[in-house]
Point group: C2
DNA sequence: TTGAAAGCGATACCAC
DNA sequence: GTGGTATCGCTTTCAA
């Protein structure tokens, strides 16, 4: 029963032709007679032949495999992107490795080293803020989707939302609804504090642009040591208990927003009227909350599409149209800002 | 700059030894002098050598790669399992492919065909109910974690909870809290209606065992054409609007339970007292709900651990201890059954 | 301790 | 239209 897997060589022998011909037929390359084709295909089928990808990869120096690096697939925003990216890659004939970096540079380094050894054709970073120090294989195509941090690779494309503008719009929404004192709540803030990716930047920009005094007591940042929901609730609770007041909250993330809403409700504060709240990601959390949480849709489909598009372009040897792709976002107002 | 990747052969030449020796040193196999070892390692390092996995795989007929097949990674229960399984596999030196089957047998078949060609060392099904018809490579080790359906493979292990017992316990919890008429709500019910995996079986068993008359009007099954949350709310709403009454609900899934709770709240029904509800999975949905939803913890860590354990055993050529592993579940009572 | 060489399975060049 | 053969990079046996 331990019959060795059937190879192209077996097919060749059975069909009485050469391996070259078999290869040609199987790949619809070169030329061969119809008779030969039918014969080879029939025998291959009869024998249950399946091409050995390892051999093909070795020969062609291409594995048709892409690595997906994300901090944590169990995070719904990331996993949605993983789902979509994988689907698009599969449609293009690629398989996807899944790698959970936990936002740990060292672990990411180990992954990348292994992935290079495994000859992946490209890498897609999805979310997070790792910073690989690997400079080997510097020519590997890399795409960053909603990912802060660069690699040493020469061919990399960034796809994401305009985060500063996004938080600017969140802040603007609250002030335009009549808020006078708007707090900022975030967890894992330190992770994302890089130049153009700074998620909080828009908050500060809005304030300074409109001559609103920044109250540092209203800037609540957690270290993300526990569930963002719980941490956010504690941050807001602590702020209120300390006697600070505000009538609007920019929450960097829907889970954060949900925690904020819970903390407010717990204290009998009318969310949406007394205090308005806006989250980010348009995830299930903002939709299942009651009251429904206003949020910002980041457009995961487009993020995935533009990212894969850029990757496929690079894989085809082309220079991608842009190295920095910005996907539009959209403010979705619900009860927590509309008040109804 | 297009310098060909450095191979074991390059190292051998530079070190003035044979490829056999280089291979031995790099893999800590065979014997060699300390001097040779140091020399080879130094040169390998200097040259930034990375082993070519394709070549190794071809030679060793093993790719150190496992495929994870799940209906949809963006589902939080599945993605949590994917996260944990991937972590355990990585620790054992394996990389993981991620494959989203959408519970579609045909798509799964395509995946499996490709995976066999890619010479994966094993397959882990995570959730869902696909039924592959591929019988090639019948000797591939396969593990099913919370997955209904078998393959044609000879070496397969099932890891999961005792679903009939689980729904039995859910039902029992409600009756023991004083409920008299308990409804059953599920979406995608038809998917899981196989022998030992039938998620609803325990409900029926409890009723018949306790001589409670089954009221078919209280068995609400949705086709899962939309978000389970919405669908569940509609099912319950429709039932109530039709004039049927009940004081307990067994919801097969936390998202389903949340939909039920929302529908009840919307109609001004006191959840936890007038009507008690219990969900399943102990996911974020049951915890963020207000009132907090009672549920059943299914123990994803153990599911992942036992699954990987069995897979690694098979990969090592051993017969796994059991072919059907049952992971214990635990009822977690919260407000929706306790009433407080 | 070390090395020569066969071979894993597929591709592709170049004769015929 | 077809086939012989070198080659991809690595492991492993067997001799030296």
């Amino acid at each position: 029963m331990a019959k060795r897997t059937v190879s192209i060589y077996d097919i060749a022998k059975l069909a009485g032709v050469s391996t070259a011909t078999v290869s040609n037929v199987l790949n619809s390359k070169g030329s061969y007679s119809d008779k030969t084709r039918d014969l080879v295909l029939r025998i291959a089928h009869e024998q249950g032949y399946v091409a050995n990808f390892a051999a093909k990869s070795l020969r062609e120096a291409s594995t048709k495999t892409i690595a997906l690096l994300t901090p944590d697939v169990s995070n719904d925003f990331f996993s949605t992107l993983v789902l979509k990216v994988e689907g698009l890659l599969r449609a293009a004939g690629y398989s996807s490795y899944i790698c959970n970096t936990a936002n740990d540079d060292e672990r990411e380094g180990e992954y990348v080293r292994g992935l290079i050894s495994r000859q992946v054709d490209g890498i897609v970073y999805i979310g997070g803020a790792t910073r690989s120090s690997i400079r080997a294989a510097a020519n590997l195509p890399v795409v960053h989707i909603d990912h802060t941090g660069s690699t040493g690779m020469k061919r990399e494309v960034y796809v994401g939302n305009d985060m500063p503008q996004l938080s600017y719009d969140m802040t603007a929404t609250l002030f335009e609804r009549g808020c006078a004192q708007v707090a900022l709540v975030s967890v894992s803030a330190s992770l994302y504090r890089t130049d153009e990716h700074d998620q909080a930047a828009g908050y500060y920009r809005y304030l300074s642009k409109h001559g609103i005094r920044l109250d540092k007591n209203l800037v609540l940042e957690g270290p993300h040591r526990q569930t963002s929901l719980v941490e956010a609730a504690q941050l807001v609770g602590g702020c209120l208990d300390a006697g600070y007041t505000f009538d609007g909250v920019v929450a960097l993330g829907d889970r954060v927003a949900l925690g904020v809403v819970n903390a407010l409700k717990e204290r009998g504060i009318a969310v949406g009227t007394e205090v308005r709240v806006i989250g980010m990601d348009d995830s299930i959390y903002s939709r299942i909350s009651s009251p429904a949480i206003s949020t910002v849709r980041r457009n995961t489909s487009q993020l995935a599409e533009r990212g894969v598009e850029a990757l496929l372009a690079m894989l085809a040897g082309n220079r991608p149209a842009q190295t920095h792709v910005v996907v539009p976002h959209e403010v979705i107002e619900r009860t927590t800002t509309l008040g109804v």
